[in-house]
């Protein structure tokens, strides 16, 4: 198959060109599969840990959690949610009592999709915490939605009735109002809108307060996630 003629001579056959590229592609493919397979466990473990830490952060007083999905109009606990199935997380305290839901939410921000997680206590109908998971908001301005402790702290007891409203900084007077960030109004309003939309979307699917699914699987704060 190889061309033994001197390199300066006639151009190599098409076969040789095709073969060179095929071999290069094959080796490259094997290398990529190798690196993918060897890093996948770490990557999934990292993601699971990040999510678990976020759940414990947005729901104060929670020490155990489980994933919940809506199957045939009923909220049930599940070990492995199906792909693309909307999932929320139930948080429970030491005595396995239900504390609240951690709701993943996402929507358009100023630059790109903002993905966040917020803690919701259905009994009092309040948001008790908010953590931005993913955002590409402008550094120095829009990124205050997760760097500004005052704004993030504003989500500690925020009523969702009738809906959350972002107001000009320092003018908060109602339990459903939150001070927007000066210079990052669009990003702060985006966060509020994302939470409101997710709340409307899920409110019909949540069981009445007091009859939340009980904790079936144990996953404590320090447990390692096996994947």
């Amino acid at each position: 198959m190889t061309d033994d003629a001197p390199k300066v001579a006639a151009s190599p056959s098409s076969m040789r060109l095709v073969l060179t590229l095929a071999i290069a592609g094959l080796i490259s493919g094997i290398a990529i599969i190798g690196i993918y397979e060897s890093t996948l466990p770490t990557i999934t473990a990292n993601k699971a840990r990040e999510l678990r830490e976020a759940v414990f952060k947005v729901l104060p007083g929670v020490s155990q959690m489980q994933a919940l999905v809506n199957r045939d109009g009923e909220l049930v606990a599940t070990e492995k949610p199906a792909r693309d199935e909307p999932v929320i997380y139930g948080g429970y305290d030491e005595q396995r009592n239900f504390v609240g839901y951690a709701m993943p939410a996402a929507g358009p921000g100023f630059q790109d999709t903002i993905a966040l997680l917020y803690g919701y206590r259905p009994g009092e109908k309040i948001v008790v915490g908010m953590e931005v998971l993913e955002s590409r908001e402008t550094p120095g301005l829009g990124d205050k939605i997760y760097k500004d402790a005052v704004f993030v702290g504003g989500f500690s007891a925020l009523s969702v009735e009738p809906e959350i409203v972002a107001v000009k900084k320092g003018t908060k007077s109602q339990p459903n109002e939150i001070d927007a960030i000066t210079g990052a109004t669009i990003s702060s309003k985006a966060v509020v809108r994302i939470i409101n939309e997710t709340h409307t979307q899920w409110s019909g699917q949540l069981p009445p307060p007091g009859s939340e699914p009980s904790l079936v699987r144990m996953e404590s704060q320090d447990a390692e996630v096996g994947q």
């Binding site: 590229l21 690196i35 993918y36 770490t42 990557i43 550094p139 301005l141």
Partner: protein, 214 residues
Amino acid sequence: MKETESYEEFIKGVWRDNPVFVQVLGMCPMLAVTNSAVNAIAMGMATLFVLVGSSFLVSSFRNWIPKQVRISCFIIIIATFVTIADYTLLALVPKVHKELGAFIPLIVANCLILGRQEAFASRYPTRLAVMDALGMASGFMLALLSLGAVREILGDGALFGVKLFGENFEPWVIMILPPGGFLTLGVILLFFNWFKLKKDEFLQEVAEAERSES
């Protein structure tokens, strides 16, 4: 002789032919990810890994790769190294990976890397090719770091995330926004060109002085 030769190849990338300040290559990552020193270092390391790895392979296989398909082969090699760097960063430092975002996969399109394969690695022995790649990558990292440090200090009042000034420091936010990248790079390029001009003038003066003496 051999030693000085490879040293030459290394140092030319760091200073005389610095890929950013002299050749003005790789501007896209240069402007995009230099808003903090940590990002600059991570980007520099990823580029170093890809450039050295690709140069080594391209140079080793330079006699097997037919001329007609050389660019495709270079791209396959580079893309493989970029994918490896991408997954490794994602597994080891997910936070940095998130910050760099799309610019890790975009290393494939960094003309600095393909340029070195075509201009150097595919023509010279492996040892020189690796030295050249190390030099160019170090030069690139030096450039990223000088830009990243200036922008982080002015725009955030910090270096490597450590606050340098007191509470009253008002960050010059524009420096970590895209315009800050252009401003800083412009000033640095201005300095480099001024420096080159002065050096040329000085060399000319020396030459003239020597001529009048003899």
